[in-house]
């Protein structure tokens, strides 16, 4: 690896800058992003050409979010003897990421200096792309003081062309359905988000772009009268989807994150109607006191907040009292009853919930029932709770509004950016291959007869 010392760097920078200023009138560098339009889980190549050789430059990405915040990432590079910088091949010497990181300009994004605290980046309107502007600046220090030498725009899409988005409001069930292009019918997923948020569609849109009908279910909007009524809501939702003409009825799975994984466990363990072909639980949580609705369960949880641990930044972690709560098995879903293949994805640095311990408990219970072969587990060291689609920025702690109250806290999710981003990329690929195996490839039950 090159060892670039500061005085040498400054001299280089000044010389290059002078050269570049003179040359910019005649010949600027060329920055290209290939592909310029891609799905959010696809990689791109960022290349800068026509620089002077051995020139220190900074690659800078900028995104203006729907919430009107600015997010950025940057890496410091030095051009080779041909005057080329390739983000795919070269090492970043510093910035928001270091080393050889083809997608570092996306996953290491963070709010620009001076932004509000505890921000989180999530796309609400999935019908338009996320726009990322990538530019190249001369020098490393104070690169923002100089106008960029060149820039290009990338479009990152959650929806592939031809994917249809349909609002569902049927038999009291609300949500958004995404249907892949083509004649169908398709294997299908019931997609469930976590607590504390409105309806998020982006993962469903992406799953539809990967060939699955995907239904993003809004299950926290209304206050259900009882646990039974709430349970029926989920069963009704599952039936509506299963009976949709574009859905293959015996190829429906459930994917849930955080509280969504609780729902997945609960339905699969107890429903006589819902028989998913397989389930994927991200940031696994099986805490669900019997006879409670999810919101009521959350209220019980919030009574333990005084036991929450606050770190040096005053970020709140529920992990430790969560561990106490799940120690009592009567609080939890009897996951040993589950009879379908399961994939559990967890971050070992999850500070929000003891998800790894939950996964271990699930493994133990299935082993006892002779069903351990149904279980696959992925546990990523250094990853936190919010395991999102690949190249999404990492959020170690974000603002959270406690359900039904106006109280805002900053919740600690955990994770260290590089490890967390690697986990997002790896787990998405493995989740898709798990779903492909169980929902696309495996022979129909009929074929066995």
């Amino acid at each position: 690896m090159w060892s670039v010392t500061r005085p040498l760097l400054q001299e280089c920078t000044l010389a290059c800058y002078r050269l570049l200023s003179a040359m910019t009138q005649a010949v600027p560098p060329i920055l290209s992003i290939t592909p310029s339009r891609a799905l959010v889980d696809e990689k791109f190549q960022v290349l800068v050409e026509n620089l002077p050789p051995g020139c220190p430059v900074t690659l800078h990405s900028l995104h203006h979010s729907e919430d009107k915040d600015d997010w950025e990432a940057y890496g410091h590079y030095v051009s080779d003897h041909r005057g080329v910088v390739s983000v795919t091949e070269d090492l970043s010497f510093g910035g928001t990421y270091t080393g050889k990181e083809p997608m570092g300009l996306l996953w290491s994004m963070r709010p620009v200096p001076g932004s509000r605290e505890g921000l989180r980046l999530r796309k609400i309107n999935v019908c338009t792309p996320m726009l990322v502007n990538i530019s190249v600046h001369s020098g490393h220090e104070d690169f923002r003081d100089r106008t960029p030498l060149a820039s290009a725009l990338a479009e990152r899409w959650y929806m592939a062309p031809g994917v249809k988005r349909i609002d569902i409001n049927k038999q009291g069930v609300q949500g958004t359905l995404f249907i892949p292009p083509g004649p169908g019918p398709f294997p299908t997923l019931l997609d469930m988000w976590g607590g504390g948020v409105g309806l998020l569609e982006y993962r469903s849109a992406l799953l539809a772009s990967r060939g699955y009908v995907s239904f993003s279910l809004d299950y926290l909007r209304s206050e259900h009268l009882s646990a039974d009524v709430e349970f029926k809501y989920f069963e009704t939702a599952f039936n509506i989807i299963r009976n949709h003409p574009q859905v293959i009825p015996d190829r429906v799975g459930i994917l849930g994150i955080s509280l969504g994984s609780t729902v997945a466990f609960n339905l699969t363990a107890y429903s006589t109607i819902i028989k998913p072909r397989c389930i994927v639980c991200i940031s696994s949580n099986h805490y669900h006191p019997p006879g409670t609705t999810l919101k009521a369960g959350f209220k019980i949880l919030s009574k333990h907040f005084h036991k929450a641990h606050f770190d040096e930044n005053n970020y709140m972690s529920w992990r430790s009292f969560g561990l106490d709560l799940i120690a009592d098995p009567s609080n939890n879903v009897e996951v040993g009853r589950i009879n379908c293949p399961m994939l559990l994805v967890n971050g070992c640095d999850d500070q929000n919930w003891p998800t790894v311990e939950t996964a271990e408990e699930v493994a133990r219970l299935l082993r006892e029932g002779g069903k351990e072969h149904l279980l696959s587990r992925l546990a990523y060291p250094g990853a936190g709770h919010l395991i999102e689609p690949p190249f999404s920025p990492h959020f170690r702690a974000t603002k959270f509004i406690i359900l039904n109250s106006k109280k805002k806290v900053i919740l600690l999710w955990g994770g260290h950016t590089k490890a967390h981003s690697d986990a997002q990329e790896d787990s998405w690929r493995k989740s898709l291959s798990f779903l492909q195996l169980h929902l696309y490839h495996s022979p129909s039950v009929k074929a066995k007869l």
């Binding site: 050269l19 010949v27 290009a152 129909s444």
Partner: protein, 435 residues
């Protein structure tokens, strides 16, 4: 075969690409050894439908990769990664003489790619595909801006790449059919050139006054481009196809105002009355009208109008005086212009004058006149309405589809490199050895 047992998975990557980008069409989870047809369908802006298809056999893993596996029939055969685009032809029952050209380049070309059971050749509309995806093909990269230009009486459109600039400039001219044809300029802007597409035969000013534009029109276009704050005024090139070549060569050699860093001439000739205006050059061609020939299908062949290549210097642009690099692109089966004979004569003239080091000739056997951006479907003939004649004629362009398509791909690649080198390059690495 129970379709539900085998959910055939079709994917095209990238699903949104630029018109000159390749894609990978992949089928997975098909029944091993099964026969499948992959078909592309496109409905163009004027409502006509186009199709292309290939016949494949899935391997033992149930996979077909169009970039690795051969098509054994259809509108293309062999290993043809992009065959589903370049072999597009109007669906059966369409009228004759169609040519696929996009007018609105701010929206993508939409193509549906589907897979059918068996080796099908017709009646696709009545078949249900096993799987289908939608693909977008764009002329404009994200961030490229389109700016209409009316300054100085021009009818033009400027395409600016994204970024601060300044960018090298490009003047883009098409041929005798007139109109403002924007797609090539939009695509070149996506490659970093500030490109201005110019309508010089059916410009607003011509339609209103009935008078053809004069040489100043092109000089005005050059000036407007040069003075744009995001254009590098000292790095401007010109690209012309067909009649556009006539203008390009004339300006490159004779204009006192236009100083080109490079010129690209596709399917054209240097034969013209050198002191002539646009109008006079057109009249010169018309004078030779009796040399028009017709094919057995009654298609018009105009290549003889400028033959034999004259020896009279007043009838040929004096390319010996050219001071910038010139790239000539020639289809050897060009039935519309004598581009091959002209290229040979240009080469001789430049050799005699001592500036042939500026010349590069790309000559393609069995390619026709319309050498378009890559994967544009080949039109061996199509109906044409030129500014000289009132009614539409069926014009023979020439070319054999496979070789013509390869020529388009190769010529484009080399043209972009040529433009890059002459407009962005000029950097001598040894001059920075002190760094």
């Amino acid at each position: 075969m129970d379709r539900k047992q085998y959910c055939v998975k079709l994917s095209v990557q990238p699903s949104r690409g630029l018109m000159d980008e390749k894609f990978i069409v992949l089928i997975q989870n098909a029944l091993p050894g099964s026969q499948l047809t992959i078909r592309a369908l496109h409905q163009c802006e004027d409502g006509h439908s186009w199709e292309a298809f290939g016949h494949y056999t899935a391997d033992t893993t149930g996979t077909i990769n169009v970039s690795e596996d051969p098509s054994i029939g259809g509108t293309y055969s062999g290993v043809e990664q992009m065959g589903l685009l370049w072999s597009f032809r109007p669906i059966p029952g369409s009228k004759s003489g169609l040519r696929m050209r996009k007018k609105n380049i701010q929206t993508p070309m939409e193509v549906t790619i589907s897979v059918y059971q068996g080796h099908q050749t017709e009646g696709f509309a009545d078949l249900v595909p096993l799987s289908g995806v939608a693909v977008e093909r764009w002329y404009m990269a994200p961030g490229v801006r389109r700016i209409p230009v009316t300054e100085g009486g021009l009818t033009a459109a400027l395409f600016l790449p994204s970024g601060p600039g300044p960018f090298p400039g490009l003047l883009d001219l098409w041929g005798g059919g007139g109109q403002l044809v924007e797609y090539r300029a939009a695509l070149l802007a996506s490659h970093g050139f500030a490109s201005m597409a110019i309508d010089y035969l059916t410009a607003k000013i011509t339609m209103e006054t009935g008078k053809m534009v004069d040489n100043q029109y092109f000089e005005t276009a050059y000036r407007v481009l040069q003075q744009h704050p995001q254009v590098c005024g000292s790095k401007i090139a010109m690209i012309g196809l067909s009649f556009g070549t006539s203008i390009t060569l004339k300006m490159a050699v004779y204009s006192e105002v236009i100083k080109l860093s490079a010129a690209v001439c596709i399917s054209g000739s240097h034969v013209q009355p050198v002191d002539g205006s646009v109008e006079e050059i057109l009249r010169f061609f018309q004078k030779n009208g009796e040399k028009t020939r017709f094919s057995e299908k009654n298609e018009v062949i105009w290549r003889d109008l400028l033959l034999p290549i004259p020896t009279d210097p007043s009838l040929k642009v004096n390319v010996g005086r050219l001071q910038c690099p010139l790239l000539l692109v020639v289809g050897e089966d060009d039935q519309n212009w004598p581009s091959q004979e002209s290229a040979l004569d240009i080469k001789e003239m430049m050799a005699r004058a001592g500036n042939s080091h500026l010349l590069t000739v790309l000559s393609y056997p069995n390619a026709g006149h319309l050498i378009e951006p890559p994967y544009t479907p080949h039109a061996r003939s199509s109906t044409l309405k030129t500014v000289e004649i009132e009614e539409k004629v069926m014009c023979l362009w020439g070319g054999q589809t496979v070789e013509h398509s390869r020529a388009q791909e190769d010529a484009w690649k080399k043209m972009v490199v040529f433009l890059r080198e002459n407009l962005y390059g000029g950097r001598n690495p040894t001059s920075f050895s002190h760094l």
